[in-house]
Chain length 278, copies 2
């Protein structure tokens, strides 16, 4: 693991690191905020998964999470959203596919299957690296994310409820199998057999019997992607049918940006802290 | 005035605007955060002046000020750091001069004197625009800034103590006349007669009799510019001799970045709020 940068912030340390990822077959960069409490012993870990076109940097610069993480003594890990770099296949013409658009799945189709393995990367390789290099209590993990990263957080929590004590999302893509801006990516990563898509789709996972104690979701009602990409009401219906406790807050006037996320990230970190304590 | 973008944040509105500036002879861009309280009536105004190489965008994205401004009901105005654009002379080879390095002065030398007039821009033109276009109570203004912008805040407050109820700074250039990274810019903007530099130098202003009730200054002790550019001890000595109440906080382990600024911006906004209330 290489340290790219480190800076003291809110009494803790905001770092950016990279490593050669076996899973993704390329160098991967990620950010970790270690709160001041990490100097005295292991802290719980909250994963933040970012949205389309983002790297670790967007939330690190604009997310305003450090004040809250420092208050609660929580490590925040912010991975990249896809493999990238020389040798990683890409489609420059499509911001909803390839670099910046890994969709937190393991691709099965050529030429994507070798590198686009964000499910396994965040499922296995990166947590092992975190456990080995940071004062992290890996028995206490939670997860949240934004948009495509909200999709990532919901699906990972539904597939691994024992790993994540809590899960929340900002403006998540709740049913990517049917959303305009993700159907084409799913077809290219996973092939035309849509049954293979269901384990990467929060609503489909719930329909197929996956469960989770409760979710917190914030969604701006001035979000331009609300109707075509996000559609939180589909998650609401699925949770209702499955008896999953969903707190869905429609936030009046808020858009899809980090101005929205930063406004409510304190609420989300408070929520996760309650689940991570003890 | 043109609206470039607006987004709801922490219940208020973060906007970016531009206008044709008569003072600077170019289009100037700035950011304004109007807190939720601005819907009910005029709010006090806190000016944030940015450092070398910055535009309005750095603090707007990384400053983490909105939570605190919303809590106190304060409008935050973030101007650019220089004129810029076609027709504005520049020196591409020097990050400490020209575009991004206006030093909050009115240049007297050719070819800079036509455009590089940030003192008058922030002294007159921009506050008039703010008064005309935002729910701002211009009888209640305060000012703060970072690095070159800390220099700007200190010198503006010392020259106009009646305008600004309070003044604070992060890692300010306290004596730019003698600092390695600003002497050359001062000579090019203002000419070789150093007596004309003194009204743009906080320590010199205090030595020449300017006064102000009190300052709050935060300075990271891991700041790489501490010894050559910043030297807060010079301000400390000048304030002590002049009987100005300076709270200088050396912050252990902090650098010169927005990771430092955002860690303490809440303290600064609390400080200004106490002076702006009533």
């Amino acid at each position: 693991m290489k340290t790219i940068s480190q800076a003291k912030s809110f009494g803790g340390s905001q770092g950016v690191y990279s490593h050669q990822s076996d899973t993704c077959g390329c160098e991967m960069t990620f950010a970790v905020y270690a709160p001041p409490q990490a100097e005295d012993g292991p802290c719980p870990v909250l994963w933040y998964l970012s949205g389309l076109t983002c790297t670790h940097a967007n939330v690190t610069e604009k997310g305003e999470y450090r004040a809250h993480a420092a208050r609660h003594g929580i490590i925040i890990v912010c991975p990249d959203t896809s493999p990238r770099g020389d040798g990683v296949p890409d489609d420059d013409g499509d911001w909803q596919f390839g670099t910046g658009a890994g969709f937190y799945l393991d691709a099965t189709q050529e030429p994507w299957r070798k590198n686009y393995r964000m499910k396994s990367y965040i499922g296995s390789e990166l947590p092992e690296l975190i456990a080995d290099n940071f004062p992290a209590d890996m028995s206490r993990q939670s997860i949240f994310g934004h948009s495509m990263g909200g999709h990532g957080a919901l699906t990972m929590a539904l597939r691994e409820p024992e790993r994540f004590r809590s899960c929340s999302a900002f403006a998540p893509i709740v049913q990517p199998s049917t959303a305009d801006w993700s159907r084409s990516a799913f077809a290219r990563y996973l092939g035309e057999d849509e049954t293979t898509w269901r384990s990467y789709d929060a609503v489909a996972l719930i329909e197929d019997g996956a469960s989770y104690p409760e979710f917190l979701v914030d969604q701006g009602d001035a979000d331009g992607f609300l109707d075509d990409g996000l559609r939180p009401w589909l998650l609401e219906e699925a949770c209702k049918r499955a008896g999953i406790d969903l707190t869905l807050r429609m936030q009046p006037g808020y858009d899809h940006s980090y101005y929205f996320i930063s406004s409510f990230i304190g609420d989300h970190i408070d929520w996760h802290a309650r689940h991570l304590q003890g």
